[in-house]
């Protein structure tokens, strides 16, 4: 195993502190909501994206239409197109099969670590960059699958009076607060809240999509204003 791979692995380990509780929660909440273990695992292995898995689950609990579940969860994942583009200058020359594997493991944590490492050391040779990337995935992704499974097994054993219906909203709120980095993020979030409440009467998911599109536009617009002001 190469030094780059091991370094990635070491850098990825601290993320287990976040991955383990979230995977556990997804497994528990997924089975409580009525998914069987194979389906819960299907989400964690095929989608590998916590926030969108929780978003899909929440809309499924609300019995939203299949299309709404898919559109909402995919909008949550759109940011990963940005990750994909950002990795091209560093990993774009790797063989296609490697890029295909990198794409599968291109999650928040592996992206953030790799991008930071590659920018610190732009001269790093391509195979070492690839090894580093896979190193970061080595603790993060298997833990996501394995702990989801533990959660799914436990889920069946936890009685409903523990208020787990509220675990998903709490999870989302916990993710939102640290993401409010700039005024543009704050105003986008407020737009999303206000319009989602206004559109609450629309079919499940539709109001949310409209609110999200407007909120993205607000965030982009505020960012542009601030840039012009600063210029």
């Amino acid at each position: 195993m190469s030094a780059s791979f091991l370094r990635g692995l070491r850098d990825g380990l601290p993320f287990l502190l976040v991955i383990v509780p979230f995977a556990l929660l997804f497994g528990v909440v997924g089975t409580e909501a009525g998914l069987n273990i194979a389906q819960v695992m299907g989400f964690s292995i095929l989608v590998v994206a916590g926030a969108s898995q929780f978003a899909a689950l929440q809309l499924m609990i609300e019995n939203a239409s299949t299309v709404m579940v898919l559109v909402t969860a995919l909008v949550v994942n759109l940011r990963m197109a940005m990750y994909s583009a950002a990795l091209v200058p560093h990993l774009g020359d790797a063989p296609l099969w490697q890029r295909a594997c990198i794409a599968y493991f291109n999650v928040d944590q592996t992206y953030a670590l790799s991008q930071a490492r590659f920018e610190d050391d732009p001269g790093l040779a391509l195979p070492r960059k690839v090894a580093y990337f896979f190193g970061t995935a080595a603790p993060v992704c298997p833990a996501w699958y394995a702990i989801t499974y533990v959660g799914a097994i436990l889920g069946g054993a936890i009685p409903p009076e523990y208020g787990l219906d509220f675990a998903v909203p709490i999870t989302f709120l916990a993710l939102i607060a640290p993401a409010l980095k700039t005024l543009a993020h704050v105003l986008a979030a407020l737009t999303s809240v206000a319009l989602a409440l206004v559109f609450a009467g629309l079919p499940s998911g539709l109001g949310l999509i409209l609110a999200a599109l407007a909120a993205m536009a607000v965030g982009a617009r505020v960012e542009l204003w601030q840039e012009r002001r600063a210029a």
Binding site: A81, S84, N106, L173, A177, P178, A188, M216, G219, E223
Partner: protein, 109 residues
């Protein structure tokens, strides 16, 4: 939840494929082309555009109480958010929210 097994697997498979294609997009297909700045500007806000809108109705009108505003859940939501803002730590925020939920449910009966 009222989906057939086939519908659930359809959702899982389509979401898996769609998410994979998003991740593969530039690395695999589009290559070394820059994203236009206006696209980047919108993509940056996708998480904060979707998640708050999803939470707000759930916090105000929880399904567990049939849509009645529930003080315990509302307090838990506010506590989660406050701890998250204060510590910037996702796990601390979840722990604070769940502790507040149980404490409020116990105290408010």
């Amino acid at each position: 939840m009222s989906y057939s097994d086939a519908e659930i697997w359809l959702i899982i498979a389509a979401l898996g494929i769609g998410t994979y294609l998003i991740r593969f997009s530039f690395l695999g297909l589009i290559g070394n082309r820059e994203l236009p700045p206006w696209v980047l500007r919108h993509l940056r806000y996708t998480p904060v555009a979707v998640l708050p809108g999803m939470v707000a109705p759930l916090a105000l009108w929880p399904q567990a109480t049939g849509g009645e505003t529930d003080p315990a859940r509302l307090l838990a939501a506010l506590a989660t958010f406050a701890v998250g803002l204060w510590t910037k730590n996702v796990i601390a925020a979840v722990a604070g929210g769940i502790a507040t939920l149980y404490a409020a449910q116990y105290l408010l009966g």
